[in-house]
Symmetry: C2
Subunit: 319 residues, 2 copies
């Protein structure tokens, strides 16, 4: 059973309920109360102080074993805070990471993580992200032996910040199918199944891709409309372009997934349609069915990259 946060979708509670109904997956939708958690200064504090909020109720249901996974279209910060506080990190995981699927035209999506949970990371965090991402792509997306790349400002192993260079060395020595550094120009080319970076760069990168794609398509649309002949041409290509848009629609992927916590947590896009919510719920169910969390823990342990002294408290992802 999947716990679904009723609030957070831009289109309202109705869309979430409609998506839950059409998902074909057993769900429990949590909410009201009507005081939702916004993008506040301290989402962790907000999550704690408004224990009645729907995201907190949903996260608690998962923590208590009443549900197997969590889905929310609410603000990432609030979902992250509720998940870390209630569902908790996998033992030995430094930091949970938000992983987002980047659509690759004509190919399998590429998983980019961290997409914003941790603005500053250390090499051991990046290394864990790599294993967490690879396990997700293998277990949930059926990609055998996923290619893992490290986002940097050049292909050579020495390119990047000190932390990136250190992470490169550890990944190159490990058992993953590590393809080395990946440059910004390669992210949308499908050169890796998993691309690892810190949450600052990952957040900027993800939003840049969305922004650039929308700017480029907008500019092409404007150029086409600026002339009667090309406007006719625009009508003739409409169907095909719409199909392309469908194929790379963020709603199709179900949203981002929070990796490194003890149950699957899916962060649906705030702009999700009912179909987007349904896909997020199906993604959560698939992660449950494929035992993503158990496989992640086993893989991190087998690779010897778990933190040696487990945190006494997992509420604060301090390292």
């Amino acid at each position: 059973m999947i716990a679904v946060d009723a609030h957070g979708a831009d289109a309202g509670v109705e869309v979430v309920i409609q998506g839950a109904d059409s998902s074909g997956v057993p769900v429990h939708v949590f909410g009201p109360p009507l005081t939702a958690i916004g993008n506040e200064d301290d989402p962790a504090l907000a999550a704690r102080s408004r224990a009645g909020a729907s995201i907190v109720k949903a996260a608690r249901a998962v923590a208590d074993g009443e549900a197997d996974a969590l889905v929310s279209a609410g603000p990432t910060g609030a979902t992250l805070a509720a998940a870390v506080l209630h569902i908790k990190r996998i033992r030995g995981v430094h930091r949970p990471a938000v992983a987002a699927l980047v659509p690759i035209p004509g190919g399998t999506p590429t998983l980019l993580l961290d997409a914003g949970a941790n603005v500053e990371v250390r090499p051991e965090h990046l290394v864990q992200f790599a294993y967490m991402g690879a396990t997700f792509m293998e277990a949930v997306h059926g990609v055998a032996n996923p290619r893992v790349g490290l986002l940097s400002n050049g292909e050579e192993p020495k390119k990047g910040t000190e932390d990136v260079v250190a992470a490169h060395a550890r990944l190159a020595d490990g058992p993953l199918n590590f393809v080395g550094n990946v440059e910004g120009s390669d992210v949308t080319k499908g050169v890796a199944d998993v691309i690892v970076t810190d949450g600052f760069t990952g957040n900027v990168a993800l939003k840049l891709m969305e922004g650039t794609a929308s700017t480029v398509t907008g500019a092409i649309r404007d150029a086409i409309k600026s002339n009667p002949l090309s406007a006719v041409g625009g009508l003739l290509i409409r169907g095909r372009v719409a199909k392309l848009r469908e194929r790379i629609d963020p709603n199709a992927t179900g949203g981002a997934i929070l990796l490194g916590v003890r149950k699957p947590v899916v962060i649906a896009h705030g702009k999700s349609s009912a179909e987007g919510i349904a896909n997020a719920i199906r993604l959560a169910q698939r992660a449950v069915d494929e035992q993503m969390v158990e496989k992640t823990a086993a893989r991190l342990e087998a690779a010897g990259v778990l933190r040696s002294v487990p945190a006494a408290s997992v509420a604060q992802p301090d390292d």
Copy 2:
């Protein structure tokens, strides 16, 4: 007179000479010898050890006052190393930065810096980049009171790494037209004239934009070709799309400019056409005519953001 490095353009020396001829600007083209400086492990070392290389000759001519500015289509690392070693930093500048113009469809380009010279920076570096970029846009591109943004993972002043948050506070307190944090999704929207970031994020961002734009246009092209009717539509829109491509052609901007050194240094794209080289030379000449360097030094001093103890040696941009 502009010193032009004959080597480095992918299309060969001929294209550089042709561009120099057609620029309408007095130039001296340096080269051979034929041993070019590649993307080596240590470009600074390479620049020193091959003192005969064309980039070094050209940089020395500028340092000796025989030429007023430097243009090269060679590897950024080699140009940067030659410029810092021979032309030297402006007194009190921590780090020179590579600034690249991002084409904005239907608007003035946005300057993104640092685009790759400094993978790790401190807040005072970001602050200097902001003043250097604003001076360039005002002096060379005629943008009055340029809007300066700071690239981050959220609009709120507290969003970002510790260094970004600290830079935000200093910029908000200063005399620049600071518009606050800019998110990845806004970079191509023309929300700022100057966007400041570290060289790691800037390099990834610039390449991501190029890669995403090429992936999106490629996917649209493929979608159009996949069906006879839309293929006809594709023929009808061709002219307009070609015009758009011209308008946002990187060759039109002349390339990236190295800010913070004592003479203008333009880093033309390796893929430059003769017209791209000519535009790079014209950009360098404009920076000379508009006294960009003098204005940059004056502005940094007036804002009180120069380093207090000038470096004894400027060969190593150590801080």
